[in-house]
């Protein structure tokens, strides 16, 4: 049975589109560890659960190193700050650049910088 939730009680989400700059291309799992580790480091376990970050796997573009992250609308600034605090992934120097914050994937895609 699929549990339903009242629309008014659903979490309001924001989608953060980001680009990863690194010395060499990074795989999905390495990127995911870096993002979640940084959010946990900055916001703590309590903040991580409140932010409920979710990296959308099928929107990760390994060639362009771009991805989408869904977070609670209350935690957008904290998550952006966590992404900005990433300095390296493994032994490689790396930085995240936030491209856009949108309310839906559709609007995010239509207004993405080319």
């Amino acid at each position: 049975m699929k549990l339903k939730r009242m629309p008014s009680l659903r979490d309001k989400k924001r989608y953060i589109t980001f680009r990863l700059h690194s010395e060499k291309p990074v795989s999905y799992s390495e990127m995911k560890d870096a993002v979640l580790g940084s959010i946990a480091g900055w916001l703590g376990e309590n903040g991580l659960s409140a932010a409920s970050p979710r990296i959308i796997r099928n929107l990760w573009n390994e060639k362009r190193q771009e991805g989408w992250l869904s977070v609670s609308h209350r935690a957008v600034d904290g998550v952006m700050m966590s992404l900005a605090l990433v300095r390296q992934i493994g032994e490689m120097r790396a930085t995240f650049q936030v491209l856009r914050v949108s309310g839906t994937i559709k609007s995010g895609k239509s207004k993405m910088p080319k």
Binding site: A84, Q97, V98
Partner: protein, 215 residues
């Protein structure tokens, strides 16, 4: 709306290219020496400035007064409270960057507002530290931000980048400001090119005093 990073501590073509790619409209490269070097060429607005880093208050004041007529931006990194106080009292200073662990109080913030000295919040202090050190640096920044907000003093949000890997996009520095508790309109103003414009006007030769210009 234009966005400027007023505190980049290295000058190279890579750093300028990266800043351009991240969406900055202008950057200020701060150097410790007084020699005016050739800036890297770019479509972006690249300014030059002087960073005074000292523990002696008198030295900071005299260096700022000497540099004012040739530099577009004059910044002071106060390594102790005395230097922070002198910097906030000196109208020739544009940016006061409180050094790690050097606090500012409401007296300094009031003086900074009177003398139009912007209090700098340096993101690199958080980036280059970890755990305990980062949390103590952030708590000092939160305290400073609270006083700056209360007294309406000017402030700037800077990356303090020493390499292209330390640069962050304008949206990320704005998020840093919001995390510090500063409000969105004042963050937009802090990152605008207003300070650069005003200082260029002053260096132009036609400026006499605020509101008075020679034709």
């Amino acid at each position: 709306m234009k966005s400027y990073d007023y505190c980049i501590l290295a000058s190279s073509d890579e750093i300028i290219r990266k800043a351009e790619g991240l969406g900055w409209d202008g950057v200020c490269i701060l150097e410790s020496g007084t020699a005016v070097k050739e800036m890297p060429r770019s479509r972006m607005d690249v300014m030059k400035g002087l960073l005074i880093e000292t523990a002696k208050p008198d030295e900071a004041r005299s260096a700022a007064q000497r540099a004012r007529k040739i530099q577009e931006i004059v910044a002071v990194r106060g390594l102790n409270e005395d230097v922070n106080r002198i910097a906030s009292e000196t109208p020739e200073v544009d940016i006061l960057l409180p050094g790690p662990g050097a606090r500012i109080d409401f007296v300094m913030v009031k003086l900074a507002r009177k003398n139009n000295v912007a209090v700098g919040f340096d993101f690199s202090q958080l980036l280059h530290s970890s755990r305990r050190e980062r949390s103590s640096a952030f708590s000092v920044m939160l305290e400073n931000a609270k006083i700056v907000k209360k007294f309406g003093a000017p402030f700037v949000l800077t990356s303090g980048a020493v390499s292209e890997w330390d640069l962050r996009a304008p949206s990320e520095l704005a998020a840093f400001g919001r995390v510090l508790g500063l409000d969105a309109p004042s963050i937009r103003e802090a990152m605008s090119g207003k300070m650069a414009e005003e200082n260029r006007k002053r260096l132009g030769g036609k400026w006499v005093m605020p509101g008075v210009e020679v034709e």
